[in-house]
Protein backbone atom coordinates (compact mmCIF):
# COMPACT_ATOMS: atom_id res chain seq x y z
CA UNK A 1 0.00 0.00 0.00
CA UNK A 2 1.52 3.31 -1.11
CA UNK A 3 1.40 6.34 1.20
CA UNK A 4 1.95 9.99 0.23
CA UNK A 5 5.30 11.62 1.00
CA UNK A 6 4.39 14.39 3.48
CA UNK A 7 7.59 16.17 4.51
CA UNK A 8 5.92 19.36 5.79
CA UNK A 9 3.14 17.74 7.84
CA UNK A 10 5.63 15.24 9.23
CA UNK A 11 8.12 17.98 10.12
CA UNK A 12 5.34 20.04 11.72
CA UNK A 13 4.15 17.03 13.70
CA UNK A 14 7.71 16.29 14.77
CA UNK A 15 8.18 19.87 16.02
CA UNK A 16 4.94 19.56 18.04
CA UNK A 17 6.19 16.29 19.57
CA UNK A 18 9.40 18.12 20.49
CA UNK A 19 7.49 21.06 22.00
CA UNK A 20 5.49 18.64 24.11
CA UNK A 21 8.68 16.96 25.31
CA UNK A 22 10.18 20.35 26.26
CA UNK A 23 7.01 21.41 28.12
CA UNK A 24 6.76 18.15 30.05
CA UNK A 25 10.37 18.57 31.19
CA UNK A 26 10.00 22.27 32.04
CA UNK A 27 6.69 21.80 33.89
CA UNK A 28 6.78 18.31 35.42
CA UNK A 29 10.47 17.46 35.11
CA UNK A 30 9.55 14.31 33.21
CA UNK A 31 10.76 12.54 30.08
CA UNK A 32 7.97 12.41 27.47
CA UNK A 33 8.33 8.65 27.00
CA UNK A 34 5.07 6.87 26.35
CA UNK A 35 6.35 3.58 27.77
CA UNK A 36 7.13 5.23 31.09
CA UNK A 37 3.98 7.35 31.24
CA UNK A 38 1.74 4.40 30.35
CA UNK A 39 3.49 1.89 32.63
CA UNK A 40 2.90 4.25 35.56
CA UNK A 41 -0.88 3.81 35.25
CA UNK A 42 -0.89 0.03 34.86
CA UNK A 43 -1.50 -1.46 38.34
CA UNK A 44 0.34 -1.34 40.66
CA UNK A 45 0.04 2.42 40.07
CA UNK A 46 3.00 4.67 40.55
CA UNK A 47 2.42 7.31 43.21
CA UNK A 48 2.07 10.19 40.74
CA UNK A 49 -0.48 8.73 38.36
CA UNK A 50 -2.80 11.75 38.03
CA UNK A 51 -0.67 13.83 35.63
CA UNK A 52 -0.07 10.71 33.54
CA UNK A 53 -3.81 10.18 33.08
CA UNK A 54 -4.21 13.87 32.19
CA UNK A 55 -1.36 13.70 29.64
CA UNK A 56 -2.69 10.50 28.02
CA UNK A 57 -6.25 11.85 27.94
CA UNK A 58 -4.99 14.99 26.19
CA UNK A 59 -3.07 12.86 23.68
CA UNK A 60 -6.19 10.82 22.85
CA UNK A 61 -8.64 13.74 22.71
CA UNK A 62 -6.58 16.21 20.66
CA UNK A 63 -6.64 14.23 17.38
CA UNK A 64 -10.42 13.72 17.79
CA UNK A 65 -10.93 17.49 18.17
CA UNK A 66 -8.66 18.06 15.16
CA UNK A 67 -10.77 15.64 13.06
CA UNK A 68 -14.05 17.17 14.25
CA UNK A 69 -12.77 20.63 13.29
CA UNK A 70 -12.29 19.50 9.71
CA UNK A 71 -8.69 18.27 9.83
CA UNK A 72 -7.64 15.07 8.13
CA UNK A 73 -5.45 12.32 9.56
CA UNK A 74 -4.47 9.70 6.97
CA UNK A 75 -4.84 6.30 8.65
CA UNK A 76 -4.71 2.74 7.35
CA UNK A 77 -3.79 -0.51 9.08
CA UNK A 78 -2.50 -3.05 6.55
CA UNK A 79 -2.06 -5.68 9.28
CA UNK A 80 -4.44 -8.46 10.40
CA UNK A 81 -5.88 -8.47 13.94
CA UNK A 82 -3.93 -11.59 15.04
CA UNK A 83 -0.66 -10.00 13.89
CA UNK A 84 -1.58 -6.71 15.60
CA UNK A 85 -2.12 -8.65 18.84
CA UNK A 86 1.13 -10.59 18.40
CA UNK A 87 3.01 -7.37 17.62
CA UNK A 88 1.42 -5.67 20.63
CA UNK A 89 2.49 -8.45 23.00
CA UNK A 90 6.07 -8.30 21.73
CA UNK A 91 6.14 -4.48 21.84
CA UNK A 92 4.86 -4.53 25.44
CA UNK A 93 7.50 -6.96 26.65
CA UNK A 94 10.19 -5.24 24.56
CA UNK A 95 9.58 -1.70 25.81
CA UNK A 96 9.38 -2.96 29.40
CA UNK A 97 12.80 -4.60 29.22
CA UNK A 98 14.21 -1.91 26.94
CA UNK A 99 12.86 0.75 29.35
CA UNK A 100 11.58 2.95 26.56
CA UNK A 101 10.36 3.30 23.01
CA UNK A 102 10.46 5.77 20.11
CA UNK A 103 9.42 8.74 22.22
CA UNK A 104 11.47 8.08 25.37
CA UNK A 105 14.67 6.75 23.81
CA UNK A 106 14.31 7.95 20.21
CA UNK A 107 13.38 11.56 20.94
CA UNK A 108 14.02 12.51 24.59
CA UNK A 109 17.02 10.25 25.25
CA UNK A 110 18.69 10.97 21.91
CA UNK A 111 18.16 14.71 22.50
CA UNK A 112 20.09 14.33 25.78
CA UNK A 113 22.77 12.34 23.92
CA UNK A 114 22.20 9.46 26.36
CA UNK A 115 24.41 6.53 25.27
CA UNK A 116 21.75 4.06 26.49
CA UNK A 117 19.07 5.73 24.39
CA UNK A 118 21.31 5.92 21.33
CA UNK A 119 22.10 2.19 21.68
CA UNK A 120 18.42 1.37 22.18
CA UNK A 121 17.26 3.50 19.25
CA UNK A 122 19.83 2.09 16.82
CA UNK A 123 18.87 -1.43 17.96
CA UNK A 124 15.11 -1.05 17.54
CA UNK A 125 15.35 0.84 14.24
CA UNK A 126 17.48 -1.96 12.76
CA UNK A 127 15.20 -4.65 14.24
CA UNK A 128 12.11 -2.93 12.84
CA UNK A 129 13.66 -2.57 9.38
CA UNK A 130 14.75 -6.22 9.30
CA UNK A 131 11.30 -7.36 10.50
CA UNK A 132 9.47 -5.33 7.85
CA UNK A 133 11.81 -6.75 5.19
CA UNK A 134 11.23 -10.32 6.38
CA UNK A 135 7.44 -9.89 6.65
CA UNK A 136 7.01 -8.15 3.30
CA UNK A 137 9.71 -9.57 1.06
CA UNK A 138 10.55 -13.01 2.47
CA UNK A 139 7.34 -14.21 4.14
CA UNK A 140 5.46 -12.29 1.44
CA UNK A 141 2.64 -10.97 3.60
Amino acid sequence: METDFTPWMSLGGGVLIGLSAILLMALNGRIAGMTGILTGIIPPFSTDWAWRIAFLAGAVIAPVIFLRSGGTIPYAVPVSLPLLALGGLIVGAGVYYGAGCTSGHGVCGMARLSPRSIAATVTFMIATGVTVYVVRHIAGA
Binding site: L27, S46, V64, P115, V132
Partner: protein
Amino acid sequence: MQKLLFSGLTGAIFGLGIAISGMANPAKVLNFFDVAGSWDPSLIFVMGGALITTAIGYRLVFGARARPVFDTEFHLPVNKTIDARLLTGSAAFGVGWGIAGFCPGGAIPALGFGGIEVIAFMGAMVIGIVLARAVDGLRHKPAKAF
Protein backbone atom coordinates in the same frame (compact mmCIF):
# COMPACT_ATOMS: atom_id res chain seq x y z
CA MET B 1 -4.99 21.20 39.54
CA GLN B 2 -2.81 23.53 37.48
CA LYS B 3 -0.35 20.69 37.01
CA LEU B 4 -3.11 18.43 35.69
CA LEU B 5 -4.42 21.07 33.31
CA PHE B 6 -0.98 21.72 31.85
CA SER B 7 -0.24 17.98 31.70
CA GLY B 8 -3.41 17.55 29.65
CA LEU B 9 -2.43 20.38 27.31
CA THR B 10 1.09 18.98 26.93
CA GLY B 11 -0.43 15.59 26.10
CA ALA B 12 -2.74 17.25 23.58
CA ILE B 13 0.24 18.83 21.79
CA PHE B 14 1.93 15.42 21.74
CA GLY B 15 -1.18 13.65 20.42
CA LEU B 16 -1.79 16.23 17.71
CA GLY B 17 1.88 16.10 16.67
CA ILE B 18 1.83 12.31 16.46
CA ALA B 19 -1.44 12.30 14.50
CA ILE B 20 -0.49 14.86 11.83
CA SER B 21 3.07 13.56 11.54
CA GLY B 22 1.96 10.10 10.40
CA MET B 23 3.41 8.21 13.37
CA ALA B 24 -0.11 7.00 14.29
CA ASN B 25 -0.60 5.59 10.77
CA PRO B 26 0.74 2.01 10.53
CA ALA B 27 0.64 2.06 6.70
CA LYS B 28 3.01 5.05 6.70
CA VAL B 29 5.23 3.73 9.50
CA LEU B 30 5.68 0.36 7.78
CA ASN B 31 6.40 2.09 4.45
CA PHE B 32 9.11 4.15 6.12
CA PHE B 33 10.93 0.92 6.99
CA ASP B 34 10.14 -0.72 3.63
CA VAL B 35 13.11 0.75 1.77
CA ALA B 36 13.06 -2.22 -0.62
CA GLY B 37 9.36 -1.71 -1.43
CA SER B 38 6.86 1.16 -1.18
CA TRP B 39 9.29 3.46 0.66
CA ASP B 40 7.90 6.67 2.20
CA PRO B 41 10.72 8.68 3.82
CA SER B 42 8.35 11.10 5.65
CA LEU B 43 9.17 9.80 9.11
CA ILE B 44 12.74 11.08 8.82
CA PHE B 45 11.16 14.53 9.10
CA VAL B 46 9.18 13.50 12.19
CA MET B 47 12.22 12.13 13.97
CA GLY B 48 14.44 14.98 12.79
CA GLY B 49 11.95 17.71 13.72
CA ALA B 50 11.22 16.19 17.13
CA LEU B 51 14.85 15.49 17.93
CA ILE B 52 16.25 18.90 16.97
CA THR B 53 13.41 20.76 18.70
CA THR B 54 13.83 18.71 21.88
CA ALA B 55 17.62 18.98 21.91
CA ILE B 56 17.48 22.78 21.69
CA GLY B 57 14.57 23.08 24.13
CA TYR B 58 16.11 20.80 26.77
CA ARG B 59 19.28 22.92 26.72
CA LEU B 60 17.25 26.07 27.25
CA VAL B 61 15.21 24.48 30.06
CA PHE B 62 18.20 23.03 31.90
CA GLY B 63 20.12 26.28 31.40
CA ALA B 64 17.32 28.50 32.67
CA ARG B 65 15.87 26.50 35.55
CA ALA B 66 17.23 24.55 38.52
CA ARG B 67 13.91 22.70 38.92
CA PRO B 68 10.71 22.21 36.93
CA VAL B 69 7.65 24.38 37.56
CA PHE B 70 5.50 21.71 39.22
CA ASP B 71 8.13 19.48 40.85
CA THR B 72 11.20 19.73 43.05
CA GLU B 73 13.63 18.08 40.61
CA PHE B 74 14.13 16.94 37.02
CA HIS B 75 13.55 13.18 36.88
CA LEU B 76 16.29 12.04 34.53
CA PRO B 77 17.25 8.38 34.09
CA VAL B 78 20.33 7.56 36.17
CA ASN B 79 21.08 4.12 34.70
CA LYS B 80 24.06 4.45 32.32
CA THR B 81 24.66 0.77 31.60
CA ILE B 82 24.23 -0.56 28.08
CA ASP B 83 23.44 -4.19 28.90
CA ALA B 84 21.83 -7.24 27.33
CA ARG B 85 18.52 -6.35 28.97
CA LEU B 86 18.38 -2.97 27.20
CA LEU B 87 19.47 -4.33 23.82
CA THR B 88 17.30 -7.47 23.88
CA GLY B 89 14.26 -5.48 24.96
CA SER B 90 14.86 -2.85 22.29
CA ALA B 91 15.38 -5.51 19.60
CA ALA B 92 12.11 -7.19 20.65
CA PHE B 93 10.32 -3.83 20.54
CA GLY B 94 11.60 -3.39 16.98
CA VAL B 95 10.32 -6.82 15.94
CA GLY B 96 6.87 -6.03 17.36
CA TRP B 97 6.84 -2.56 15.78
CA GLY B 98 7.78 -4.10 12.43
CA ILE B 99 4.96 -6.65 12.69
CA ALA B 100 2.21 -4.28 13.85
CA GLY B 101 3.26 -0.84 12.58
CA PHE B 102 2.26 0.72 15.92
CA CYS B 103 4.67 1.88 18.61
CA PRO B 104 3.34 3.00 22.04
CA GLY B 105 3.51 6.72 21.25
CA GLY B 106 1.92 6.14 17.85
CA ALA B 107 -0.90 3.96 19.16
CA ILE B 108 -2.10 6.07 22.11
CA PRO B 109 -3.19 9.11 20.02
CA ALA B 110 -4.88 6.72 17.54
CA LEU B 111 -7.17 5.32 20.27
CA GLY B 112 -9.72 8.09 19.75
CA PHE B 113 -10.17 7.49 16.02
CA GLY B 114 -8.50 4.20 15.10
CA GLY B 115 -11.13 1.55 15.80
CA ILE B 116 -10.68 -2.10 16.69
CA GLU B 117 -7.17 -2.44 15.21
CA VAL B 118 -5.47 -0.01 17.58
CA ILE B 119 -7.53 -1.29 20.51
CA ALA B 120 -6.35 -4.85 19.77
CA PHE B 121 -2.75 -3.65 19.59
CA MET B 122 -2.97 -1.59 22.79
CA GLY B 123 -4.72 -4.36 24.72
CA ALA B 124 -2.04 -6.85 23.74
CA MET B 125 0.71 -4.33 24.50
CA VAL B 126 -0.58 -3.72 28.03
CA ILE B 127 -0.76 -7.51 28.55
CA GLY B 128 2.84 -7.72 27.27
CA ILE B 129 3.98 -5.09 29.80
CA VAL B 130 2.09 -6.79 32.65
CA LEU B 131 3.51 -10.23 31.76
CA ALA B 132 7.05 -8.90 31.42
CA ARG B 133 6.76 -7.09 34.74
CA ALA B 134 5.41 -10.24 36.44
CA VAL B 135 8.20 -12.44 35.03
CA ASP B 136 10.75 -9.79 35.98
CA GLY B 137 9.31 -9.59 39.50
CA LEU B 138 9.72 -13.34 39.94
CA ARG B 139 13.33 -13.28 38.80
CA HIS B 140 14.55 -10.04 40.35
CA LYS B 141 13.46 -7.48 42.82
CA PRO B 142 10.67 -5.38 41.28
CA ALA B 143 11.94 -3.07 38.56
CA LYS B 144 12.08 0.52 39.70
CA ALA B 145 9.50 2.91 38.36
CA PHE B 146 10.29 4.92 35.27
